[in-house]
């Protein structure tokens, strides 16, 4: 039955090559911790992806309660944290996941760097990976403001001052992010929310797709 459905779809869409790229391929010995325990360093990339999936899922649940305006943002987070069943867990996962994703990505970057795995022919994939790193830092920065508590507001003020220090375009960057020359307020919160929830995840998905397509295309780098 399942085979028949597969054949029916395959005749029309020729999905076998896709299936082969996603699932039906070889895992070389040197990346398999079952054969060489030191190969656990190859897990960091996968764990980064795993935590990213957790971030996406927990973030989707958070937006069910979160209200991005300065009157209700803090109240909604407080309510979620203290009243909603498992709200503390979901918010905790998103909060700690943000740190974990950076830790895992950092370890993954170090693995790739010290193994020289970014060398020809994998230069493009390294660049995409570093861009993912920047997007993640951007997600961390914009997400920090959203609870609208004291540390969020003042850390964002510092962050915007740093952005303002950019030569020539600094003040424009700041206005683009905060919505006003001097005030960090209602506009800033909605902008950061939009950037955190729509703009950066959109960029992130594109970059991650490119990252994975290139891995499947080139295969994992050989042993040292």
């Amino acid at each position: 039955m399942l085979n028949k459905i597969y054949d029916w779809v395959d005749e029309r869409l020729d999905i076998t090559p896709m299936w082969r790229d996603i699932a039906d391929h070889e895992v070389p010995e040197h990346v398999n911790p079952a054969h060489h325990f030191s190969a656990f360093v190859y897990c960091f990339g996968g764990l980064t992806f795993f935590v990213t999936v957790i971030q996406i899922l927990s973030g989707m649940f958070l937006t069910m309660y979160y209200v991005p305006d300065i009157k209700n943002a803090w109240e909604s987070v407080f309510y979620l944290q203290n009243q909603v069943a498992f709200g503390q867990i979901v918010r905790g996962m998103h909060h700690w996941g943000a740190s974990l994703v950076l830790v895992m990505m950092f370890l993954h970057t170090l693995r790739v760097f010290f193994q020289g795995a970014y060398k020809k022919p994998r230069e493009l994939n390294w660049i995409v990976g570093v861009l993912i790193f920047f997007v993640m830092l951007g997600l961390g920065f914009t997400g920090y403001l959203l609870p609208w508590d004291m540390k969020a507001l003042f850390a964002t003020k510092v962050g915007l001052q740093i952005a303002e220090a950019t030569p020539f375009i600094g003040s424009y960057v700041k206005i683009l992010l905060s919505g006003h020359e001097t005030i960090v307020g209602a506009q800033t919160l909605t902008r950061f929310f939009a950037i955190h929830v729509f703009f950066l995840p959109g960029v992130l998905f594109g970059l991650m797709a490119a990252h994975f397509v290139m891995i499947r295309r080139q295969g994992i780098s050989g042993p040292l």
């Binding site: 395959d10 029309r12 070889e26 508590d149 004291m150 030569p167």
Partner: protein, 258 residues
């Protein structure tokens, strides 16, 4: 790939008809060196187990340490000492040094991080030799180790110099209490500069704890007002007479008391 005349397609789509497809069988496992393993389902199952263990640890962390939430943002509180999330601390600390701040902010905020991250982005082109082993390309390895050491050092410096006790005090969520600002006790507190540190609503700040719900008796408060406490609150702040002191301490003792 076979192109042009004679190609068979599925209907009018661009997908090649099944009988004309080349077999897309994967290479036989024996053609790979070493002990390879099929990704699906063998290796994926192992990955799944690693993920499950990781998830359990992650959830334990979440349960043991709930995500922090400070009091609602108050832009008028100018005494607040800001602190970014830990992964930006290295940059935050860098900007505290003389030649990376003030008139030199461009160096600390743009040039140094720009060089570091630019170097990271362009690493494959800066380190373009054929050698992969870290020991065979000492410049790249050395630069990365240096950057790592600098990042760890800056983060550690930032953590070590931050006043964590003040940070906890200044961000604490204080139960909202209606304070009678016309009360005599409030006026006395204002006249004796209590509010300068403890806040207009006695909610506390970076330098001083909240005075709401202290749980102290009036006599204890009177003693602190006169003699100070813990080095932070200096003695002799209170300058009024005994009757005012009594009113003040009764007022503060009554705040948020149940």
């Amino acid at each position: 790939m076979h192109k042009g005349k004679g190609m068979k397609f599925v209907g009018d789509s661009r997908v090649v008809a099944p009988e004309a497809r080349k077999p897309m069988l994967p290479k036989d496992y024996s053609e790979y060196p070493g002990k390879t393993e099929a990704f699906w389902p063998n290796f994926l199952l192992k990955e799944w187990m690693v993920g499950a263990v990781f998830l359990v640890g992650f959830l334990c962390l979440t349960v043991a340490h709930p995500a922090p939430l400070e009091r609602i943002a108050d832009p008028t509180d100018t005494g607040y000492i800001p602190l970014p999330d830990w992964y930006f601390l290295f940059l935050y600390q860098l900007l505290k040094y003389t030649y990376a701040s003030g008139p030199y902010t461009v160096i600390g905020a743009m040039i140094i991080p720009g060089l570091a991250f630019g170097g990271l982005l362009l690493a494959p082109f800066l380190d373009n030799g054929p050698e992969r082993r870290a020991s065979k390309r000492p410049i790249a390895t050395g630069a990365m180790l240096l950057a790592l050491a600098a990042t760890v050092f800056l983060t550690w410096q930032s953590v070590a110099t931050h006043d964590w006790a003040a940070a906890e005090r200044q961000g604490k969520i204080v139960e909202k209490v209606d304070i009678d600002k016309t009360a005599e006790g409030y006026q006395i507190a204002k006249d004796n500069t209590c509010l300068t540190c403890h806040g207009e609503n006695l909610q506390g700040g970076a330098g001083a704890p909240t005075l709401i719900g202290t749980g102290l008796k009036p006599e204890e408060i009177a003693k602190i007002a006169k003699e100070g406490k813990g080095g932070k609150m200096p003695p002799g702040i209170f300058k009024g007479d005994d009757e005012q002191l009594k009113k003040l301490s009764e007022f503060i003792s009554g705040l948020g008391a149940k």
